[in-house]
Symmetry: none
Subunit: 231 residues, 4 copies
């Protein structure tokens, strides 16, 4: 048996690690109207599916488990999603869209470029690295080749925008004299690389060698902007 051991290796999941505002499990709030109930259920399914897909990957995830975790019957899933595959694809969209929305709103044009980027980094540290959102990034890396539409979506919505935003910042930094190396603007990936590595590191190796992502990012920024006199 192949899948069983795989399951055994992953204890019934971390469960109650509700990410959204509320677990939206049933039995709790009676809720009032039907639409609300339906929305809650849908949210519960999304939440549960995310958890399971992250824990086991697409192919090894069982809809049965998602249903159980969401506290709904198996058939209910099919009231919200066409099938497992499109559930996965929609899921990524559902989870990513609000993140993108927030990010595109954020940038308050304050202080120096370094301050701006540090704000970004700090945000990233709190909201992505080591969180469910970080795991989602790893999930996309894992399943991307088998779900081109997911990779496409992620590139379009997140990567290309992120790269563009970083490039703009870098160019600003160069213009203001904060960044010396002009070529950096051609490869904004360099700016983000350590952050991405931190995300992956936390998923895979945190157990063996915990990584102080915050400090690493600071060192990286020092590399780009020069070390700060004031720490």
């Amino acid at each position: 048996m192949t899948r069983k051991p795989t399951k055994a290796a992953l204890p019934p999941a971390t469960r109650a690690s509700a990410k959204g505002p509320e677990p939206a499990r049933s039995e709790e709030a009676p809720a009032t109207n039907r639409a609300t109930r339906a929305a809650e259920r849908r949210a519960a399914i999304v939440e549960a599916a995310m958890e399971e897909f992250i824990a086991r990957g697409f192919a090894a995830t069982r809809l049965d488990d998602i249903a159980r975790r969401a506290g709904v019957a198996k058939g209910t899933i099919y009231l919200h999603f066409k099938d497992k595959e499109s559930m996965f694809e929609e899921l990524v969209r559902i989870v990513i869209v609000p993140v993108v929305a927030r990010l595109t709103t954020l940038p308050p044009p304050a202080g120096s470029v370094r301050d701006l980027i540090e704000a970004f980094a700090s945000n990233f540290l709190n909201e992505v690295i080591g969180t469910r959102r970080g795991d989602l990034v790893r999930l996309i890396v894992a399943e991307g080749p088998r779900f081109p539409s997911v990779a496409d979506f992620y590139y379009r919505e997140v990567v290309s925008r992120g790269i563009a935003a970083m490039r703009a910042l870098i160019e600003l930094g160069i213009a203001r004299g904060e960044i010396r190396q002009k070529d950096l603007a051609r490869y904004p990936q360099i700016l983000v690389a350590p952050a991405m590595i931190a995300v992956i590191w936390q998923s895979l190796f945190a157990r063996h060698a915990p990584l102080d992502a915050q400090e690493m990012l600071r060192v990286h920024l020092d590399l780009i902007f020069g070390e700060r006199s004031t720490t």
Copy 2:
């Protein structure tokens, strides 16, 4: 069905599709004695399995496909591996060990630290980024959480050693005055991050936005060592 679309996206494999009477053995030498034959078969299985696992991930890979691609019968796989799961785990070891062996041999004590690292990078560019070996890295990222033993092994054999080696180089660079930022030695991950990002980028986004990995790595080294006067 879970795999159908995935299969559609991945045409029935690029290799052997022998279906007729002839087993289509591994194309190499005819070989004479039994031990050799067995070793060849095993090698063919390893090769085929790697290919399939990389293309579809662990759960979605069918032993049937591996067998067909390797030109052996399904049962034969079980003469070499206990089951699918341990096959996967052994596989990673089998493929990684020679790579590590080569890397630990490599370091030719030549010129400057930057030259050394550039040699490394160049090697990495040719042998990893955009190759099967690069895909293996993505595979480990993908399956790591479900195969702790694989993640462990990879950390122990590759990551920790790589980090240690990089740290040694960085310290050497600092000692020789080639690298100004002392803190870098605490986070050798920063040195490797762009290379890893390049690996992942090629798997996922090459189609949308091809990345000139070589040039990116050069820019990154300029950042660390300062821009070269000559170039």
Copy 3:
């Protein structure tokens, strides 16, 4: 999946596909009082169910489709019928009873026996062969073995009566000297056989080889009554 191809072959029904806010009631009069409304709904369900059962057979018909076609909610069906099975059984009764009623009324004591039978045949041609009613016959042939009660009912109400009526006519024909072969009265089935074959032929083979049922029946009657001098 069992039904997919079947569905593909049968475009989502020719009728109502109302999905929007409006229930798309039965198109007839708006009706005022409740009893009337209920009766109308029931009629719509019966009509829709018949259509679907004929198109797909009992097992492959979905209550969902019936409801949609009838323009009612799925639950409404259960206000009128106990379950799918008894719905099917009642349906056949509901549809057949008025037909039988009409037939037993028909026989206008006109001219010769041949004229009488020709009147019958002509009626059958117009009202059964190639119509919904003809498909019902095929449906009963198809589902009879799985619905003994339906077969029983059909035998009792239609077949045995029809046979008896035909026998009476044949005997009359023999008595009057119109029919020479006396044994025919023992097998009135022979008289009806071509008509039944025509019904089935239209369902199955009309596409390959259209059949002029009217002319065939005429030839058949000529066989029994002798060819007419005038025609």
Copy 4:
């Protein structure tokens, strides 16, 4: 529950009513080589599937039941047939082809046309009416509209040939003066109609009113050829 009652209505099938030369169940003959075993299994599956499809119709038949009846595991069916649907389609071909083969061989040009047709009829009586083969005809009538390919095949292989053969015989009969009514050659269906009705009658109404098919066919032939002086 819809399918359960349907099942209940049909007691676990008549089972041991093996039609072919031998039941080909397992456990009996040890068989020698693999190919033979496989062929036996395939035959058992075909036999079992026919039985079940006839008893319940396509949609209501469960592969589980077919497997159980054939004495094989569910998966084994898929070694021989792509899916339920193509199993059904192939089945009809598999069962019909040898029948057609035999029929096209049969006709020994002996005696009078009536004798020839009586030989046919007698054959039909023994080999079709009231047998598995007869049920198959009913099955095709039942499922034809949902399986155009089956109806097509049946028309091409059986119906059109049968009609052509009957027409030839009728024309011969007319030429020899055995058949008076010339128009009959235009509708050979009339010649076959009572036989078909007998087939259907036996499936549906035998319980209520057994039909002496042999005698009925004789009467029908008397109608066409004139009553025999000797009998």
